[in-house]
């Protein structure tokens, strides 16, 4: 019996035993004796064993021809191996994790899964993900080239308490997108990269229609990444307090010793305390409410963001926070490369940005860990990534892929902003996502929508948010 099956049985045993219900035991019946062996420790699995199927859970939209090509390439490189994708579609990362965890709870354990910043510490903190430290140390030579190409900010965002859990594959900062057609009609020009929040305000007001109806100068989606979080960040704040976990020298010293941007990095982010109602955050939410009451912005969208993209495409919303993933999205929606462009988020108290990054996590209970590691390396190799990023579905983690040529067909012309965000603003950091980020996001969105619907003011909404977050952090 393979380890995989044993793990299944252990789960079922635990499940059955704990429930102790007659019907359940009848249903799951046969597992009784088998589960005894199932509790036994996992054996070490030598690389290249009989069952070489790798199960990879993906956020569904990404399973396309590119993924099939990736799988084919890997199977060719490792004869006898087989890639089985488990595409799960979530409207956002929260939704994706919900579906993934359902799958795991039911006993289907993938070997690898894509996880974004929203879930990095959730997976690491719960012991679902495997620390990659040993693997990385064993493969230093192969990985030199990769780490040299990836900004340390992204790598640091993949660490938890000193260990590395993921190799960044793609990432997105929230920059500001402009509908150039609308800008041109209003006789306005793209702002300079050091534009301020006041410049933004003037621009957004000028681009808005009369009487509180469309078009709107600015629009956004109520979500953790890229909602009103970018304003919290440029106002020099965060939803939670930030600090760096100790550790991580093993990685920085090995791969980033001569990279100045890596100086002072630690073993991953910690967000120990909520600080939802600090003055800077109240000010940021007040600014959102001001834009709303002045008819500069519609109320925040809910959901995955396809409506916002539609409104932006049609010119009903002229400015909006989005990342490199919109290059491909807008291109697919039929926008020509010269009809939209991108700039850094405006400067307020600072100009630090918020970003999210994603990559594969090696699942702790997976069966073919060594093969999974091979896939992880294969996945972030330049040739593989070039295959995947042909249409710019999101921003590649490799700096060397950010080229004129890469963005020639899709736009935007100011593509240098994407990676420039990390270089120019060293304070730029990932969105806050502690192990309890799912609950935190629900609280964040709920109180945000309460404020945006005019039921409570910014201060009250954030006081309530703080109260709920404190309760969450104390439990």
């Amino acid at each position: 019996m393979s380890t995989r099956e044993r793990r299944f049985n252990r789960r079922k045993f635990v499940f059955t035993a704990s429930v102790g219900a007659a019907a359940a035991s009848a249903a799951v019946g046969a597992t009784g004796p088998a589960s005894a062996t199932g509790v036994a420790r996992r054996e070490h699995y030598a690389f290249m064993q009989d069952d070489q199927t790798l199960r990879i859970a993906l956020n569904g939209a990404q399973v396309g021809e590119a993924d099939e090509a990736l799988a084919a390439g890997f199977e060719e490189q490792f004869p006898g191996s087989q890639i089985e994708f488990i595409p799960l579609q979530g409207t956002d990362w929260n939704d994706y994790f919900a579906k993934l965890l359902t799958l795991i709870a039911s006993g289907t354990v993938p070997d690898l899964t894509t996880v974004a910043t929203e879930g990095t510490q959730l997976f690491a903190g719960q012991g679902l993900g495997t620390p990659l430290d040993d693997y990385v140390n064993q493969d230093k030579e192969t990985l030199q080239e990769y780490f040299a190409d990836v900004h340390p900010s992204l790598v640091e965002a993949m660490m938890y308490e000193g260990s590395l859990y993921q190799l960044p594959f793609d990432w997105n900062a929230a920059n500001m997108y402009f509908n150039l057609t609308a800008l041109g009609e209003a006789g306005m020009e793209m702002p300079a990269e050091d534009w301020t929040k006041d410049d933004f305000y003037d621009l957004a007001v000028a681009l808005s229609g009369e009487g509180g109806g469309p078009p709107f100068g600015y629009g956004w989606v109520n979500r953790l990444w890229g909602g009103w979080m970018p304003w919290i960040f440029v106002n020099g704040s965060n939803l939670l307090t930030e600090e760096r976990a100790p550790g991580g020298e093993w990685l920085w010293d090995s791969f980033y010793s001569d990279n100045k941007a890596a100086a002072g990095r630690g073993g991953g982010w910690r967000w120990p305390e909520p600080q939802a109602n600090v003055a800077a955050n109240v000010e940021a939410l007040d600014f959102m409410l001001q834009l709303l009451s002045e008819g500069v912005t519609p109320t925040a969208e809910v959901g995955g963001g396809e409506l916002l993209q539609g409104f932006f495409t049609s010119g009903d919303v002229r400015l909006t926070p989005a990342g490199g993933f919109w290059a491909g999205g807008l291109h697919n929606a039929g926008m020509a490369p010269d009809t939209f462009d991108v700039q850094y988020f405006p400067q307020w108290k600072s100009q630090r940005h918020q970003f999210g990054t994603a990559g594969m996590v090696m699942i702790q209970d997976g069966q073919n860990k060594d093969l999974a590691w091979e896939y992880m390396k294969y996945h972030v190799s330049k040739s593989t990534m070039e295959l995947f990023f042909a249409d710019n579905p999101t921003t590649p983690a490799r700096r060397s892929m950010m080229t004129e040529e890469q963005y020639a067909t899709t736009g935007p012309s100011n593509w240098e902003v994407f990676y420039g965000t990390l270089d120019k603003f060293p304070e730029t950091a990932p969105i806050p996502a502690p192990p309890q980020s799912n609950e935190m996001t629900a609280i964040f969105m709920s109180h945000t929508s309460q404020a945006m619907s005019g039921q409570v003011g910014a201060q009250t909404a954030l006081d309530n948010m703080q109260r709920d977050l404190e309760e969450l952090f104390s439990s």
Binding site: R55, F85, Q89, T91, S106, G303, E306, G329
Partner: protein
Amino acid sequence: MASHTAVTTPHRQRRRVNPGRIVTILLLFGASIFMLAPILFTVSTSLRTPIESFRLPPEWIPTDPSWSNYRAVFDTIPLGTYFLNSTVVTLSVVIGQIVTAALAGYAFARLEFPARNFLFWLILATLMIPLQATIIPVFVLISEVNLADTLASLILPALASAFGTFLMRQYFMQIPDDFESAALLDGASQWEVFYSIYLPMAKGGLAVLAVLTFNGYWNEFLRPLIFLTTVDHFTLPLGLVNLQGYMGTGSVSVVMAGVVLSLLPVLVIYAIGQRYLVEGLMVGGLKG
């Protein structure tokens, strides 16, 4: 009410002059506009390029329809495979439920046996559990009997349903008792009473069950999402969500094209279902 008044000419004469009928028809038309508008909106959005899809006032009937969204659907997902899988699952479930619900509904409505009410409530109670609450144990069971990632994992657990049983029970209960005594006097067996007398009279209920079941399982999302892992086994709704794109970067118009495409087969089934079953029943119906 008794609409099919071919036999009662005087009534028809009387009703024809009733101005209430005109009002009825107008009200029904008004209602149909509300019911159809969102569907028409979906169709027209699916025929516009994404850039044009958000114009107001909406162009209800696109003057220059663009079929590119439909092409995008076919380019993005293997629609034929999904369609076939959905058809296999849905038709098997419909046939299974018609058989099991007709039998069980009849038993609960018309046959007396010890613990009948208890068993009925036991079955009915299972209707009251949200699917989200049982999906994990069900999937554990499915994997245990090696059915995970097969179409059978969707079909087998759905072959009987509390809903269908309850529906058919209510239909059978509406049919008068007298038919049975008459038939028994004529020497019919119990089975014949069920099969030749009551079942035909409950055809309306079976048609309703068939159409509702078809629809419910055709659009089913949660179970396929959890049970199926291989793309080749995907059903239509599961495949269609891929159109929504990463972080909502799929075009709304393409999503709508997918919705329209998945609606078409159900529409065909419904057209057949209503024409042959409901309408047929009304004509041949309950003469008594």
